[in-house]
């Protein structure tokens, strides 16, 4: 048991936060998206697009902050394909999401070869966002919690803020209320004169921005180059986190932390070889948790009522 105790330390918690950040970002994005009534399984693809464009922009401008903006913007723009396909053209949401994931792979591979001459890994960016790690004076001195929460890199801080902002947006703002109504009672929303289409476009777009940010985290903060396949299923884990978290921002955040912890634990188990358990047992934890959550075994996890349900406005004369 002393073996396990040796890896249970502050480093493990720091790693937990770092591994859960991209999942948190994509998961709260997905929460907003699904709350508006659009099922989103395209986070993986959007993340890849965001990661790629963040790295390319950071490489060519030499400025990781421009890379960050490029990644977020690319994610947002790419997600609009999903919005147009599902909202305007009434394509099945899951089908569109699956196609988005397939498409992202092709786009990135093609651009990789075009820009860098080879698939695989891009050239390294001169400065990553990791260089901007800063400790918040005072707070970072708190034992354990200090280094874990208050001595972090920029996008990690942003993810904390964004969780709170998402919570406020969904619960306290008028737009957030309308957006949730689009996912629960679209007809009622339309009756009071608010466009369901607009709310759903907004939901998909915000989720694209956040998934793009998650991608940027992977390529220019957690790493200094883009590698194909670097999302490595995180988009699906984000989906898992959102579902396990019961389609809520805080729930998604907590679930993402749990999954990040399982991942960090697994990596350390492998590195330090403390227990002879296949690491895969820990890797599958998020997926098992999700199945349990939708099965209703853990607690009631219910999607918005009109989630994934097409909404067609019957206009006069049409």
């Amino acid at each position: 048991m002393s073996g396990i105790a040796s890896i249970l330390n502050t480093d493990l918690l720091v790693a937990t936060i770092r591994l859960s950040t991209p999942i948190t970002l994509a998961a709260i994005g997905a929460t907003i998206c699904e709350r508006s009534g659009i099922v989103n399984i395209a986070m993986e693809g959007i993340m890849i697009i965001g990661a790629f464009f963040a790295a390319v922009a950071a490489l060519y401008t030499g400025n990781p902050w421009i890379g960050l903006l490029a990644g977020v913007a690319a994610g947002g723009i790419f997600s609009l394909i999903h919005a147009v396909a599902t909202i305007t053209f009434h394509l099945d949401h899951v089908v569109s999401g699956a196609v988005m994931n397939i498409l992202s792979f092709g786009i990135v591979r093609y651009l990789m070869v075009m820009i860098f001459g080879h698939p695989g890994t891009s050239d390294a960016i001169p400065v990553g966002l990791k260089a901007y790690q800063f400790a918040i004076p005072g707070l970072s001195k708190i034992p354990v919690l200090g280094p874990v929460f208050f001595d972090q890199t920029p996008i990690v801080y942003m993810s904390f803020v964004l969780v709170i902002l998402t919570l406020i947006f969904l619960k306290k703002t008028k737009t957030g209320l309308h957006l949730r109504a689009a996912g629960e009672h679209p007809l009622a929303l339309e009756t009071i004169g608010v466009s369901v289409y607009k709310m759903r476009y907004l939901g998909v777009f915000i989720s694209g921005l956040l998934s793009g940010l998650a991608g940027a985290y992977l390529s220019i903060e957690n790493s200094i180059s883009f590698t194909e396949g670097m999302a490595n299923g995180r988009g699906f884990i984000a989906l898992a986190a959102m579902i396990s978290g019961g389609w809520s921002a805080i729930g998604s955040f907590v679930a993402a932390l749990f999954f990040g912890f399982a991942d960090a634990f697994q990596v350390r188990m492998q590195v330090f070889k403390v227990l002879n358990i296949p690491s895969e047992i820990f890797i599958i934890f998020p997926y098992v948790a999700t199945v349990l959550a939708v099965a209703g075994l853990v607690r009631k996890s219910r999607p918005p009522k009109a989630d994934g349900i097409d909404f067609i406005i019957e206009k006069e004369g049409a």
Binding site: I41, F89, I102, F236, I283, Y287, V291
Partner: protein
């Protein structure tokens, strides 16, 4: 009247011609196409003689009509792909020449090898779609099929004629049972199968690693862990042992896949179970009203989809690889979605869309080797083809609106 008496004769000749023709064609003996064409012509002639000339013509027309949208979609995607290549500084004409020469002629054998596993996963997804289900986790059932086939292939020492069907069956059944929990949850709690099968696919991806390492084998330094090769008696028959000039890797898996497609088509169109599945897929409430057990049909459909996807893994292990690598990330589940969608979930259509996907992949590799155009353009073209399926929805959407308008006008006139 007399012609119907000759039905068995006609059918035997047609099936034989088609079988020998496709066997030859898949073994890269391209004159086989003549036999396939002869079979098709014979079928139309027979159909015309037995049902009437008009019927034969209508059949041909409806066949051509069903090709219309996919052909337009593929052609426009190729056009857009060509424009992308031209804009980014590659010559689309040379690239496409290499792509199709590589995919259809030079490396046709690779195209065939690519297509076989896709047909199985495509069928799995198409069948589930018919029941109104989205088996997005076909990839996971593929892993289960592959792992079970490897295990049995390593230890099952029996004549090939006995062992291979048993391996297919056992692996298929276990892959089907892998969908048991998603199916049960779907029926009992309404948990969406997209979520559950997707999660199960990820679980299978990682758990298969444990099983692969547990089956013995070796890891060669940087290479992924790989099992020992399976017993030679469990290998699928190679085309080379029928036609000496055939590529040494091509095996008869493609014919098993096509046979399976015909079987699925038969189930869907000619059996009560198939009718019920389609009824449930179209409208659950209406199906329930007709006394169809909706839950039971959904349950069986999801299991059968798993069975079909499992075959894909068996096909790869017994036919092509003869061993199993750790960290297998085959992608047949995702591509299976593409080919099923492109075929509008028609089992026969899945054969052709899988072959198209196989040709694009093999041709893309050839293209990147010979004319140095990145073969990822193929992935983009695939994506565009798929989004042009959206165009089909637009087409239906517009067609629907148009019809409604006409109807309203007619009513207004009245």
């Amino acid at each position: 009247m007399q012609i119907t008496k000759l039905k068995p004769l006609f059918y035997t000749v047609i099936v034989l011609l088609a079988l020998v023709g496709s066997l030859m064609y898949f073994a890269s003996i391209f004159s086989g196409i003549l036999l396939i064409l002869a079979a098709a012509v014979l079928y139309f002639v027979y159909y015309g003689l037995s049902v009437g000339k008009g019927a034969s013509k209508a059949l041909a027309l409806s066949f051509l009509k069903s090709l219309l949208i996919p052909v337009i979609g593929v052609a426009s995607a190729l056009l857009i792909g060509g424009i992308i290549m031209a804009v980014t500084g590659y010559d689309p004409v040379t690239a496409y020449k290499a792509l199709f020469y590589g995919g259809l002629v030079k490396n046709w054998s690779v195209s065939v090898l690519n297509a076989a596993p896709l047909i199985f996963t495509g069928l799995s997804i198409a069948f589930a779609f018919k029941a109104g289900l989205f088996n997005i986790g076909a990839e996971g059932q593929y892993y289960v099929g592959a792992v079970v086939a490897t295990f049995l292939g390593l230890h099952f020492n029996m004549p090939a004629l006995l062992s291979i069907p048993i391996i297919f069956l056992v692996a298929g059944l276990l892959a089907a049972s892998y969908n048991f929990i998603p199916a049960l949850l779907k029926v009992k709690t309404g948990a969406h199968e997209v979520i559950t099968t997707m999660m199960f696919a990820q679980i299978a991806r990682y758990l298969s690693s444990i099983f692969i390492r547990g089956m013995g084998g070796s890891s060669d330094g940087p290479h992924p862990y790989v099992t020992d090769p399976i017993l030679k008696s469990n290998w699928l028959l190679k085309m080379k042992s029928i036609f000496p000039h055939a590529n040494y890797r091509v095996h008869i898996g493609i014919l098993i896949a096509i046979g399976m497609a015909l079987f699925v088509q038969y189930i869907l169109t000619r059996t009560k179970f198939g009718f019920e599945i389609r009824a449930v897929g179209q409208n659950k409430d209406a199906a329930r009203g007709q006394g169809i057990k909706v839950g039971r049909n959904i349950f069986i459909a999801l299991l059968f989809a798993g069975f079909l996807a499992g075959f894909s893994g068996v096909n790869q292990v017994l036919g092509l690889d003869h061993k199993l690598y750790e960290n297998l990330n085959a992608g047949y589940g995702w591509d299976g979605i593409s080919v099923a969608l492109l075929a509008s979930n028609n089992p026969i259509g899945v054969i052709f869309t899988s072959l198209l996907w196989g040709v694009l992949a093999a041709g893309g590799q050839y293209m990147s080797r010979t004319v140095q155009t990145p073969n990822s353009i193929v992935e983009i073209i695939k994506g565009i083809i798929l989004f042009l399926i959206v165009a089909k929805y637009i087409y239906i959407h517009i067609g629907h609106k148009f019809k409604n308008k006409k109807k309203e006008e007619r009513e207004a006139v009245k």
